[in-house]
Symmetry: D2
Subunit: 295 residues, 4 copies
Amino acid sequence: MLAAMKVAFIGLGKMGSGMARNLLRAGHQVTVYNCTRKKSEALEKDGARVGDSPSAACRGAEAAITMLADDHAVEEMVFGDNGIAAALEANAVHISSSTISTAFARRLESEHQKRGQAYLSAPVFGRPEAASAKNLLVVSAGDPRIVDRCRPLFEAIGRASFVAGTEPWQANAVKLCGNFMIASMMESFGEAFAILRKSNVDRHFFVEVMNALFGSPVYANYGAIIASESFEPAGFGLKLGLKDIRLILQAAEERAAPMPLASLIRDQFLSALAHGQEDADWSSVSKVAARNAGL
Amino acid sequence: MLAAMKVAFIGLGKMGSGMARNLLRAGHQVTVYNCTRKKSEALEKDGARVGDSPSAACRGAEAAITMLADDHAVEEMVFGDNGIAAALEANAVHISSSTISTAFARRLESEHQKRGQAYLSAPVFGRPEAASAKNLLVVSAGDPRIVDRCRPLFEAIGRASFVAGTEPWQANAVKLCGNFMIASMMESFGEAFAILRKSNVDRHFFVEVMNALFGSPVYANYGAIIASESFEPAGFGLKLGLKDIRLILQAAEERAAPMPLASLIRDQFLSALAHGQEDADWSSVSKVAARNAGL
Amino acid sequence: MLAAMKVAFIGLGKMGSGMARNLLRAGHQVTVYNCTRKKSEALEKDGARVGDSPSAACRGAEAAITMLADDHAVEEMVFGDNGIAAALEANAVHISSSTISTAFARRLESEHQKRGQAYLSAPVFGRPEAASAKNLLVVSAGDPRIVDRCRPLFEAIGRASFVAGTEPWQANAVKLCGNFMIASMMESFGEAFAILRKSNVDRHFFVEVMNALFGSPVYANYGAIIASESFEPAGFGLKLGLKDIRLILQAAEERAAPMPLASLIRDQFLSALAHGQEDADWSSVSKVAARNAGL
Amino acid sequence: MLAAMKVAFIGLGKMGSGMARNLLRAGHQVTVYNCTRKKSEALEKDGARVGDSPSAACRGAEAAITMLADDHAVEEMVFGDNGIAAALEANAVHISSSTISTAFARRLESEHQKRGQAYLSAPVFGRPEAASAKNLLVVSAGDPRIVDRCRPLFEAIGRASFVAGTEPWQANAVKLCGNFMIASMMESFGEAFAILRKSNVDRHFFVEVMNALFGSPVYANYGAIIASESFEPAGFGLKLGLKDIRLILQAAEERAAPMPLASLIRDQFLSALAHGQEDADWSSVSKVAARNAGL
């Protein structure tokens, strides 16, 4: 069996709580930190220790995992007061599982390197249920020796683990592309549903056909959500979705690789925002195509 | 067991040959017609009779199935010399399985009605291998009693059968939307691959991750084709793909339902044509995103 | 002075009436035909003779000018009962000034050629006021000798005349591109106004700045219409605008030249239609951008 | 006559040099600063004093005008070592004429306010020739009393001056929208030229027709540049153009106002970059449409 590791886990939202719990179940020694302490305490019965600050959580840790909303939140936890960067020991590794920009991933790598610390990007695919059920997909990237060392952690939280490359930001590029693939599917459902509604074809009927055609749980899941317009409560909020599309477009600009479909999706998200859908599920972007068809 | 039917089958291309063979295997009595007689004769050993013309094939038939390239080809076989419309008996049904426009489906319905004949649209999803393996999805629409009567035929050629509505053209709308969903996936793969190549991430790696994420044979199949650029020989040619996108855009105009993603795909197809890809697989549209990224 | 010509003029809508009147003023001998006879009679006081049918109008004419809504209307007048094609004398020329498709222009040329008749495309730029004021731009194309022969006609109706090439359809391509340029300007105004309204910047103020920047009467005119939302009565209806965009997209497909901006405009027009704007001015397409911004 | 003002002018690129010279000509007392001192010295013969640093230039100034490449450059000059913010006297005004983001304009306003200083945005329209010829359009915004006080400066550098609103960033929104209008025109020329070239219609011919249609020097100028592909030396570089499109898209996101045409232009700019056009004129974006048509 692989040796248990000493881990700091920062960020106990819907995703992070499940991930931290699965690390504990796999036998790792986990100290958690969250802005609102209550969520930390909820993990105590699972064996977690509670840190009073990111730096306290990092004390003695071999790895610090961050699972936060965006670049800004990670920046605060890493470089803010009592942050990870100042506390993490030499040779310990910071693993960012948040969906962050490729540019910020490069900055994290370089800042940690300056401090003698290691850095990996290891974003995950999956909704909160998947996080709870140890059913995530983990896409990591970075120095292969560090990736190897952290494998037990990835195995503890996901059903499969992939290594995108030797530079951390490559994992973020893959994660953003994956979310772009899902958003593309949502947009195509939205447009198809608009014309089908105006053709008096039942949306659920179309989902059934698409299930037979694609055979994909993702199509089945989102198809059903969109067909029945079950956008609240949000599994993944529209604002976070827009953030991810913004990040892939930034990466596209970085690489000079135009992504017209991503641009289209961004504009649809903006229209959704303009119509007050910021708290709805990101799949509610499909309502924009409906509105444009006068529905 | 359901009674065997007397069927005319017109159009023995890659798709039609497999479909006709499966009708024979299911015990139906099939008279085939194809422009080049050789393909008809190839089915004789499977029990098919060979008609000298569409009208000859229709003599005494309860149903005439057409499986042809486009509106124009169907028009010729139905309304041309020795065509189906003139030969089909009263109460017999013409089943169009070709991917045709919704407007032409309405015209077929009305023309057959004038002649006391029935009409169904019953387009299919699946590549030639699926046609051979009785693995198609059949989406039919039209008068429910006629659909019921033809069910044994749909069951003979496909693994599943769906009824889209009571007006034939609705099945064509569903078929076109389905192809649009597949083309959207191809475009999203194309854009993701462009940025990932410029990020030094292996395309096959990304397909692997997408397989784990979507769990869809369609993603696995097209992902692999696109990643390895195995565009020839074409499973489904780019020109036919463009035709389908043109048809969905025509339907979108009919219904006043804008489909910006379909418009984008159309433009990419045109650029592919402009670069001489007309004989390549339609998934080679992904090369347009690559070219626009300077690859 | 250039010799007067004997001309048949078919189609006396808002544009055609002004054009026919200017031909009369220039001294040409004009026999007019219009579906509703009343509009023909209105020109009698200007010296026009009234034909009872297109063919009657063409009797003895050196040139027959058509100014009609679309391909379909021209087809009827040319190839229908008592149509132009059957009546026009050998060596006489049919001049189509309507905005028709490049494909139909090619068909007109070839059909007239078969009958020993000449054909020119000579579409015009300008609104009804410009037609009345002899202020149109005439873009012709076809056999240079025929173009030369018809020059007095072009000079009679417009302030400037241009020759696009030796094949008639080239003039139609130029006309469609010109309308595309105007529609692009309308879409850009629409998007700019949406963000500026949400920035509390007055739309008329922006038009003023754009007037100073572009110095164009077209910007001044459409900018003011769009800023004040004076979309009715329509100077040029949205449905006709959509038709023109459809025609340029068809031409783009013919030439394998993607026009993503034209595609975008088409989708905006469709959304405008879906919101009941079919009778409004085509510049009301700008409301789509506003709606998508939640305005 | 309006009283002369004491002005610091920071940033003597192609635009800034002409502007500073016109301020001197109008009788204002100008102290200039530029990173490379040589450009400052070139203005001495016109009566400029040369500052050794931004702060030195600001000493005793009533107004400090910045004319720099982007947000980043302005940030350095304002908040960096020996920056404007620290040196500008209370009640003096910083006028940013650079094309900067609306967000950064708001930050500038608030930072200056904290220091008891005033702030206006006053971006300009026009190329370097227009700057030299006192032919710019100046769009300012901010506190009306401050705008009034600075009017002599605006009149010294431009042929017309406009006030967009009472919040400085509004002027930036107008400037970005104006550049978007120009870029839209370039994209529409690019697409029209692509199809016209494939129709054997001469590009210069089309420019001539568009000149007659739009009657705009901007169309005449850019039409000729694009038709003859005279993209180097760049009047306004593609990278700066991309920056402006990025800024309008950021503003669009801020206001939740989708701008699909701006998104399309951005993608075309990225493709141009990917093909090595970073040093060409921004109007070379038209080559992307040509390439996509296989030209």
